[in-house]
């Protein structure tokens, strides 16, 4: 139980006081910040509306003329709300956070390449190597190859995001936690790899443009 600094009401920790609506400035998990049940499937439009509504009520701009203690609570609650919104809005960040809530995380630095991605990773690195050394007319052809490779990776990424959404749904339906955890880790680790590859491609293309 905590006490509201503004009106003194004792209550369970939450974002705003149930009695006077003042931000309480306490730390909460991302779901609790939005008073959402711990479910992985989230309606993004509803989340955005809730974020705007809550921000309107607790943002430091609303407390510019208040006492320092109230200003401080507003600042901390808004920082929490913003962080929670960022985490829940993005399915990948949400999945990683879910693992964390269950005392799990992706392997340190995600070093072990998923076996079926190993060949792909190797090939992309090789193509990038060629692109970096390329010059003249060959560069244009290699650039086009890199662009189409990028499109391919984007498609694989979209498929993985479908897998992620399906995994989320099974969690929410009360599936087997141990099996779902392994699956979630596997999907997220692939996504992380693809994301790194796409970022590397973008950097190489940017460098090419700059040169």
């Amino acid at each position: 139980m905590i006490e509201c600094l503004s009106c003194g009401r004792r209550q369970q920790p939450q974002l705003t006081c149930e009695s006077c609506g003042a931000p309480l400035g306490v730390d909460l998990d991302c779901f609790a910040a939005f008073a959402l049940p711990r479910k992985l499937t989230i309606d993004s439009a509803a989340l955005e509306r809730a974020y705007h509504d809550l921000s309107r009520r607790i943002h430091p701009d609303r407390f510019a003329q208040s006492a320092p203690r109230a200003r401080d609570a507003s600042l901390r609650s808004t920082a929490l709300l913003t962080r929670s919104y960022r985490t829940l809005r993005d399915p990948i960040a949400r999945g990683l956070y879910w693992l964390e809530l269950h005392g799990q995380k992706l392997a340190e630095n995600n070093k072990a390449v998923p076996p079926d991605l190993a060949a792909l990773v190797f090939q992309v690195q090789e193509e990038l190597e060629e692109l970096r050394d390329a010059n003249g007319s060959g560069a244009q052809r290699l650039r086009e190859r890199t662009m189409s490779r990028r499109t391919g990776l984007e498609q694989s990424m979209a498929a993985l995001q479908g897998d992620l959404a399906a995994n989320f749904k099974r969690w929410d339906e009360g599936g087997d936690q141990a099996a779902l955890t392994i699956e979630l880790k596997s999907v997220l680790s692939r996504i992380a790899y693809l994301r790194t590859l796409i970022r590397d491609l973008d950097r190489a293309l940017e460098n090419l443009q700059a040169a």
């Binding site: 309107r56 510019a64 600042l75």
Partner: protein
Amino acid sequence: MSRILGIDLGTTNSLIATMDNGVPRVIADPDTGETLLESVVAIAPDGAVRVGRAAIELEPHLSREKDGRVSAVGFPGGEYGAVVRSVKRYMGLGGDEVAPEEQSRYTFADLSGPVVRFQIGKRAFTPPQISAEILGALKNRAERALGEKVERVVITVPAYFNDGQRQATKDAGRLAGLEVVRLVNEPTAASLAYGLNKLAEGNVAVYDLGGGTFDISILSIKEGVFEVLATNGDTHLGGDDIDHALVDWILADLPEQVRTDRHVWNSARRVAEDAKKRLSEADKVDLQLELPGHTIRKTLTRDALEKSAQPLIKRSLDRCELALKDANLRPGEIAAVVLVGGATRMPLVRRRVAEMFGRDPLCSLNPDEVVALGAAVQAGVLMGTQGDMLLLDVVPLSLGIETMGGVMERLIHRNTTIPTSVTENFTTAVDNQTHVDIHVLQGERELANDCRSLARFKLGPIEAQPAGLPRIAVTFLIDANGILNVSARDERTGREHSIDVKPSYGLTDEEIERMLEEAIDLGEQDLEQRLLIVARNDAEQILGALRKQLGEFAGLIEPGERARLEEEAERLDAARRTSDRDLISKLVEELNELSTPFAGRIMDFAIKQALEKKSVEEVS
């Protein structure tokens, strides 16, 4: 509580605005009717200050006198007093960050410290002190216009300002005796002014090319919530750069020593600025720069101007692309493009921006005033008079810490909505370690050395324990101003840790306190006493210069001239030992007039000599 006003502290011009019954309005000077205050500050050797147009008159430049001669006038810098323009470019910079080509423009006291200092008279002034004079002039203007005290303000800053530049702006407010309730990003402020009238909704891009800085911000405006999705920019890209390129072109045929002469350079800058403005309407302008005994005449076409501006605009458009990418939007998904800043009056800028976004940009609000109007709207939000309106801004640059091997570990990514916080756990590396050093960085590069150092923190003292056992949770919180606050807590004991902060750049609290005390001292000095000191300094300056010139350029003196000059100098020398300020001033003026032809001949000679030397070099 007193009302909150909005200030646009610009590189070229500054303005102050207020809300009147829900409508933002720029406050005009009640005496002159002016709304823009030129961001130019003149400081005399004794510390007497002038701001705006009065300061521009004292800027070193060449002036045609009654007798037709062109002579050098104004405060030349250093011990003779200086006129600082575009001080915003120096806000938050360390001495080592001043670009080499800018080093000749002013006399700097020290270029090795954590803060740039201008040497003026016997004192050194930091950029926040000089900015504080501009803020003070605006405060004074608003107080005269409104008939009430002004204590609380919102000040706008470029969205791409880093932590140090923001902190310096807050320091300037404090030095001007103002409580800075909030710093607001300039493009965001502009969007508030447009959004208030529903002139722009949905995904909006704000392209802000000011005198010294460029910002691009992409916002989503929805039901009164102004959410910044991404921002990018360059704090050293603006209309000034186009002027400087023109100056180089105008002076191209002159030798180095004449080109870098502050009088010549500034006069050329004035000509360039004027030509640039005229070319927004005309296709071709004639310009001329009068030097002693030599007039430079050139014709500038809009094509040529656009050619020299092209690379700068390209740089700004590259930044727009990055911002769009970070916002995850394509140009076609932008519903409105807003233009801000005087430099967006250039037709080329309008054309290129329209091409990039595939639509004509909005410019129905005056691009010089829109930021100040938006600052007033945000002041209204803070006073609670703007209903449901809310601004959600972002941090422009990633924040992180230096880890093993000099790598930057990002804790808060750029374009994260603020306020935001992140907590990181630290422990010790060796047994009984009593302190942990943390180096905070800002920037997008991988290596700590390539990022900007923000501050160093020392955590501790930590109880003697085996390595790895202590757990200290450090919270990095970026507030709604985009400024970092750090706190630390021992996870085992729950005790708050003290943190010893060493900002890498900028002023410490103690330094600001001292400056405030000095300012009060100066303010309390008897005005008459100060004016006497100014007059004596003027006398010393002209006597010293004349003595030197009579020795060095004896060959340029006409018959009888030396005797006349020396006689007048003696009278002034005697007068300056008295307290008769009026007499000293009168004699200074007389001697100045009497020596003008001689000074003109010296300048002629210097230029001729320099030109001859150049042509010899070219031949050989």
